[in-house]
């Protein structure tokens, strides 16, 4: 049973905004801001033909959010341009991920999407050289606690965030899509083999891998809490790419081949349940057959995911929600690290949190 949440309902059926009262509007706008989805919401409403009837003050807020999102996109495209100059021209292959790929591929979902950083993938065997090369060309490593730096190097699938000295932009350099010691370890060479060229000469994941990456990011690597934007990415990718021939047919087999069918199952299940993503029945059935978790896990995940995904407004805070978020947080680490290091890591985090807690 999907949670009764106004933002979700409007994403499923944007024409609902025609009947909203003042307090509904305020709740909707507050949730959209919390989840960084105001501009995307505005495009959904516009695409449904419901924009002209909006109250003037709402239109103004949407316009302001679009200005900010367009600015993010401009910055992202410029960042990709600069990375080409530094990496591609020096002969390092570069695969764009997430927002950078959506923008450079010109996908409709890039409209209104905000992003704080640029994500790229480079081949694992060149990672050290790419890092040195970037450090020699204006990027810097943020000061990290020694423990955090160690954590990144040992347990993560990306370098610690790099910041550009002049532009202040953040760059995440991945060498695969999941931590190297996590439960699932897809072979990154498959991504490079299937990668598709973009108009600017960089590479992006092929459509099925692009959708799988979002699913993995959300349900295998992430904490799920507050990540409604990622589920909307998955929904919009499926809606758009699903019109291309072969996308739906290849999705489950590709996930099976890479060992990513569990996160794909979750993404398909919750996107169709919460956002009404039109997933063909046969695809859902295949994904369930190959990747469905045991019934008790399903029974636990459904309410936890629904409750944790909705935006983190103070009025939605409840003991149940906090428990759900904590369980999903532990789950995300459980999937990422072996049990003993995980226990030590979480104890350390809890210790720091207790002593850094405000009085």
């Amino acid at each position: 049973m999907p949670p009764d949440n106004l933002l979700l309902r409007v994403f499923v059926d944007p024409r609902l905004v025609g009947g909203l009262g003042v307090e509904d509007w305020e709740s909707l706008l507050a949730q959209a801001r919390t989840a960084n989805l105001t501009a995307r919401l505005s495009y959904r409403i516009e695409d449904a033909g419901a924009f002209a009837a909006l109250p003037a003050r709402v239109r103004t807020q949407f316009a302001a959010a679009r200005v900010a999102a367009e600015s993010d996109r401009r910055a992202l495209e410029w960042e990709v341009n600069r990375l080409h100059r530094v990496l591609t021209q020096a002969g390092y292959p570069m695969l764009l991920l997430k927002g950078a790929a959506y923008a450079m591929a010109g996908l409709p979902m890039a409209r209104g999407r905000t992003s704080a950083d640029t994500d790229i993938m480079v081949p694992g065997d060149r990672l050290d050289r790419v890092e040195k090369h970037l450090l020699a060309h204006g990027w810097e490593l943020d000061e990290l606690e020694p423990y955090d730096a160690h954590y990144y190097r040992r347990w993560s699938h990306e370098l610690p965030p790099l910041r550009h000295r002049d532009r202040g932009s953040t760059l995440d350099v991945h060498h695969t899509i999941l931590p190297p010691r996590s439960r699932l370890r897809p072979d990154p060479s498959a991504f490079w083999r299937a990668a598709v060229p973009l108009r600017d000469g960089s590479l992006a994941l092929c459509p099925t891998h692009m959708a799988l990456h979002v699913a993995v990011h959300l349900f295998q690597d992430g904490e799920i809490a507050g990540a409604l934007g990622d589920l909307i990415d998955f929904d919009e990718l499926c809606r758009h790419l699903g019109r291309q021939p072969g996308f739906w047919e290849q999705l489950v087999p590709a996930a099976v081949g890479l060992g990513l069918v569990r996160p794909l199952y979750y993404a398909l299940r919750y996107a169709s349940m919460l956002l009404g993503t039109p997933v063909p029945e046969a695809v859902m059935a295949d994904a369930a057959r190959a990747g469905q978790p045991p019934a008790p896990v399903r029974a636990a995940m459904d309410p936890m995911v629904g409750s944790a995904l909705v935006p983190d407004l103070p009025e939605f805070s409840s003991p149940w929600r906090r428990v759900a978020c904590l369980c999903l947080y532990i789950r995300s680490h459980w999937l990422r690290m072996p049990p003993l290091p995980l226990a030590l890591h979480l104890m350390r985090k809890a210790w720091l949190r207790y002593f850094a807690a405000p009085s």
Partner: protein, 313 residues
């Protein structure tokens, strides 16, 4: 209905329930809180501001609440929420008023990209706005108070909100934030205006808020044309004088004081160009705010020459 028209019981009931929707310049803030001292301080400073009727959708949903206390022997703290975001750590509850003022600033520069926003005080005379731009500590609030004493209308103490399409400067006449010695100066310049509580130990030192003039609040929906851009810098030993700036210099100096120049991109360049075309730019080093205000006042005495872009607009 104005905030000052409500009794303290009515205020508590409204702030505690769905929140009070207050029209502040072009924005509507929906503020809810249960903190009694804060309600008293806020409703004093904002007494003249109108309450919106229930059919208006707010721009910002702001909540100030006591924070949970982990160590009961510590001072009570509070937190500020705007639409699910909390821009600061918790703060001592007795400082709620300055933190809400900073929080309102945060809401504005974080979200209101329908405007080109400058860090600036703005005053108006005869329909033309003087934009007093500068970083904190440049003396813009003191100069602003001295100009109010000479009959200028307060448009804003913190933001120049410029409509990038039509070039108007929009008022947002919130209380003046005065620091240190400027508190006493403002009291001397404006004996008829009331000062809120003095906070001795904020992160910006001693701080007090001056209640905005009633007329400025009543006229908060009347925008102005940009007339002058002035960059005040206060130093004890400065020779007070107005130094005309070339337009390109004025452009670059004002851009430095812009909150969202990059965010607006091309629209920001066009709007700032138009503004600088219209307005004369000056640097104003000063030691005494009264003498500096006299010089700015003198600018408004110069009649407009027909044919300037101002008239064309």
């Amino acid at each position: 209905v104005k905030i000052g028209d409500l009794t303290s019981d009515q205020l508590h009931k409204q702030f505690d329930g769905a929140g009070l929707r207050i029209r502040i310049g072009p924005f509507i803030f929906n503020l809810s809180t249960q903190i009694r001292d804060f309600i008293a301080e806020f409703s004093f400073l904002y007494a003249d501001f109108p309450i919106c009727d229930a059919s208006e959708i707010s721009d910002f949903r702001v909540r100030v609440a006591s924070a949970r206390r982990w160590r009961p022997w510590h001072e009570v703290r509070a937190e500020f929420w705007a639409d699910g975001a909390s821009p600061f750590e918790t703060f001592p509850r007795r400082l709620a008023t300055p933190f809400v003022e900073w929080g309102f600033n945060w809401c504005t520069y974080h979200y209101a990209h329908q405007f080109l926003m400058f860090h600036s005080a703005v005053v108006e005379k005869a329909g033309r706005a003087a934009i007093l731009a500068g970083p904190p500590g440049s003396g813009k609030s003191t100069l602003c108070a001295a100009l109010l004493a000479r009959g200028w209308r307060l448009l804003s103490d913190e933001f120049a909100l410029v409509d990038p399409v039509h070039g108007w400067v929009l008022p947002i006449p919130r209380p003046l934030a005065l620091k240190g010695v400027s508190i006493g100066l403002a009291e001397r310049f404006l004996p008829h205006l009331q000062m809120g509580r003095v906070f001795a130990d904020t992160r910006k030192g001693m701080l007090a808020h001056l209640r905005p003039p009633t007329e400025a609040v009543e006229r908060q929906s009347e925008p102005a044309r940009p007339g002058w851009v002035v960059f005040p810098t206060h130093t004890e030993d400065a020779a007070t004088k107005l130094v005309p700036l070339r337009k390109p210099v004025g452009f670059l100096r004002l851009e430095e004081n812009c909150f969202n120049y990059r965010t607006l991109g091309r629209a920001a360049f066009d709007a700032l160009s138009q503004l600088i075309d219209t307005a004369a730019c000056y640097e104003l080093p000063f030691a005494q705010a009264v003498a500096a205000a006299e010089l700015v006042d003198g600018l408004a005495e110069i009649p407009l020459v027909a044919g300037l872009p101002l008239d064309a607009a």
